[in-house]
């Protein structure tokens, strides 16, 4: 039954390919695919054409509706490509799935025309077609989800890189402006970055500026202490700067022992670092009035 139904669908699609394409495009447009302006009409047409071609090949293979099989792999690749590009272009999941699901209407009306005298058979055919298209639609959804996950992972990684710069402030002095909450993963990156820079630049003092750290709790303090200890093992001293009044109070209330020189501002820390490394910055002209 299943095989014969698919062959009927195959016949229909083959015979009315261009008509199917036209009405499919119409129903996609009706569903609002073009409205957001993220995809052009000719692009959509080309994608639909390619899909129909591969869809036909898949149907011809005679392996039924096992879309995870070998014969359907070109269709899967094509769908994967479309959903990935749609995910990147910022389509919503329903907009992406509409691409496949809107094929139902034209296909069903073709079937209806063909089998208008045999209600029972029509029901069977529609069920087969629905099953196949649903599977393809679900696959589209999965790929879409996966691409979004990939994007999120990449962004998280980029954020990690972006938010942990090590700045060479002066000869033998590094600055490490921390922005955002310090979790274990970030601490690891920060530490690695800092230590590698210490080796590269031969710095003796690292200023860790926590102006951009919204809260300091026991965990953040723990991470700070780890970073300071690691730098100390490499022979570099740390100064913590940018402690806001609120944070100073929190640190005392929590009873945290930072065991490291701390300064209120980066400027103070820098002055101390200059003094410790035996350097000085002098004004070359008189102070303007």
């Amino acid at each position: 039954m299943a095989a014969s139904s698919l062959s009927r669908i195959l016949d229909l699609v083959e015979k009315h390919q261009s008509r199917l394409l036209t009405s499919w495009l119409e129903s996609q447009v009706a569903a609002g695919t073009l409205r957001s302006g993220q995809i052009r009409e000719d692009e959509l047409k080309e994608q639909s054409q390619r899909f129909l071609r591969e869809f036909l090949n898949g149907l011809k293979s005679g392996h039924g509706d096992d879309i995870m099989g070998q014969d359907w792999s070109p269709v899967r690749e094509l769908l994967g490509e479309f959903s990935r590009s749609r995910a990147l272009q910022g389509f919503t999941p329903s907009e992406t799935a509409t691409f496949i699901f809107s094929l139902k209407e034209p296909l069903f009306s073709l079937l209806r025309e063909e089998l208008k005298d045999n209600a029972q058979q029509l029901g069977g055919e529609i069920w087969t077609a629905t099953k196949l298209i649903d599977k393809l639609g679900l696959y589209t959804g999965e790929v879409y989800q996966q691409s979004r996950d990939d994007i999120i992972k990449r962004q998280a990684h980029e954020l990690l890189e972006l938010s942990t710069p090590v700045v060479e402030l002066w000869d033998k002095i590094l600055a490490l402006p921390l922005i955002g909450t310090l979790d274990s993963e970030r601490t690891q990156t920060v530490m690695e970055n800092l230590l590698n820079h210490i080796v590269k630049s031969g710095a003796e003092i690292a200023i860790i500026d926590i102006t951009g750290v919204p809260t300091v709790d026991t965990l953040v303090a723990q991470h700070l202490i780890k970073t300071v200890s690691a730098a100390r093992l490499m022979g570099a001293d740390c100064i913590i700067s940018g402690i806001r009044p609120q944070i100073a109070q929190t640190i005392v209330h929590l009873g945290l022992q930072l065991d490291v020189v701390s300064k209120a501002t980066m400027a103070d820390a820098f002055a101390l670092a200059l003094k410790r490394t035996g350097q000085a910055v002098t004004r070359t002209s008189a102070k303007p009035a």
Partner: protein, 129 residues
């Protein structure tokens, strides 16, 4: 048996650990080092671990022991050349080598030791200047 060479540089002794440490070797090193310290009347010990890509609690304790022994013999100990990965591992293990001075490389280590020795003020027992 392998032996770790101990070189005299100015007022201090330079030990470069380049092979995997085990108990016997560590004991031998402590023996040799204390011997040399007394012999040469050196005022500092510089331990270079830049060749080690793995430092565990055993080596950490050995370093602490050496530092303690050197202190008894009136010498400062500075550990130099620790790799970033090693530092991170030690911190994660909770071994921060308290009581041991550290420096980035041998050059800075030597400078640090000289500063420490000078800071002590008396140069009575100094070796070659």
């Amino acid at each position: 048996m392998e032996q770790i060479p101990i070189l005299k540089v100015g007022r201090c002794l330079l030990v470069s650990i380049q092979i995997d440490m085990h108990d016997k070797l560590a004991l031998a090193l402590q023996d040799d080092l204390t011997q040399k310290l007394v012999e040469t009347r050196a005022r500092g010990v510089l331990i270079d671990i830049s060749a080690l890509d793995l430092v565990d609690s055993f080596i950490g304790r050995m370093l602490s022991n050496i530092a303690a022994m050197a202190r008894v013999l009136d010498a400062e100990t500075v550990v130099v050349g620790m790799r970033p990965q090693v530092a991170i591992t030690l911190v994660e293990l909770g071994l921060t080598l308290t009581g041991i001075q550290t420096a980035l490389d041998v050059d800075r280590g030597l400078a640090l030791i000289n500063r420490l020795i000078d800071a002590e003020g008396d140069d009575g027992a100094g070796g070659a200047h």
